[in-house]
Homo-oligomer: 195 residues x 2
DNA sequence: GTCTATACAATGATAGAC
DNA sequence: GTCTATCATTGTATAGAC
């Protein structure tokens, strides 16, 4: 809080901004996210955010890259993890994914990237990250094409269910689909119903 | 083109606007879509769009409802269709879906709805439509919960591949995943590569 | 490395006429 | 049912100092 000591290295600040951006994109969605809210989140001024990232879209693109990198790291960590509980690689990866996208910021960042693939600036980053995951599944996790495709499809359904903000108690169909997707233990992401 | 004859009934105009909105949301994404572009698309003035729909978000919500209704109709038509070629209900529904979301406007409208489920105004419409599809699969198409879940998961993966604007020629991983997902005939949505 | 002040553009939205 | 004119707001982005 003291005057001059708030100066911190650019790279550190950059990460703070990216983290704040993930939060803001998740809370308001890309459209309603503003560089100002991101700045507030990072505890700095709005012009400084612009200074570092240029434009809102550029900020998003770097946020997406940041998030995709995090996803890859998470997957690799889950793979490396000794399967103490005798879980398959598939199960460990699934659990890791679920926990990551339980953060709505991470989820919306990924989803916005995935759907804006036609944007000349966003597309390459989004596709690059997505297929890097695919390659990882094939080469590092040892999945067959079939397994990889199925794993991704399940992931995309989970994305949708979280994105939709589905509640287990909504109705019979909802309960059935959630049960069928997650079995007994529905993730905590679906629990809160504070509205 | 003549002066006064351009007055048409409100409901008709409304549909024209909604159709234009689908196109605009698909072309620019929700964030960059403007009521003005929609107005241009419908051949009317921007204030008239606002007059009819109130706000951009409200326009989106009605566009989403419109699109979900169209999706349901398309599915029901595919079910009713005599399976002349001996295709399963699953195959017919899949083909119908693929054709529909080949229209990027339809795809982005649905996806934006699905990921903004936490929005108090969008959420109910998005969830309502999604689970109406689920119920349709279970009750009208006769799918088991397992089949329905799997069908939806495949659909969500397809959404992602189209959203990402994936091209078959991008690289080996891409080609493999597309082949694994679509078999021999990859939809035309993936063909164009004009950039 | 970071801020204040501010310019500027865009766009959503209103008022009121025809 | 539809337009023209116009306003108000917001939010990105710049300039320049510290």
């Amino acid at each position: 809080m003291n005057a001059k000591s708030d100066r911190i290295p650019a790279d550190e600040r950059r990460v703070q901004i990216l983290d704040a951006a993930v939060e803001v994109f998740g809370r308001y969605g890309y459209a309603a996210a503003t560089t100002d809210r991101v700045a507030k989140g990072a505890g700095i001024s709005q012009p400084y955010v612009v200074r570092m990232f240029g434009t809102k879209e550029q900020l998003f693109i770097e946020t997406l890259g940041h998030t995709l990198a995090r996803l890859l790291r998470t997957f690799r960590a889950a793979l490396a993890e000794a399967d103490a509980e005798g879980l398959s690689a598939e199960a460990r990866l699934g659990a890791a994914y679920l926990e990551l996208v339980g953060d709505r910021g991470v989820l919306l960042t990924l989803l916005h990237g995935f759907m804006m693939g036609a944007d000349p600036a966003i597309g390459p980053v989004a596709r690059g990250g997505f297929f890097e995951v695919y390659r990882m599944l094939r080469q590092e996790a040892g999945f067959t094409p079939e397994q990889a495709r199925s794993f991704l499809a399940e992931g995309m359904l989970i994305n949708t269910l979280i994105g939709l903000d589905v509640r287990p108690t909504d109705d019979l169909a909802t309960a059935e689909l959630l049960a069928c997707t997650f079995g007994d233990d529905v993730p905590e992401s679906f629990e809160r119903s504070i509205a």
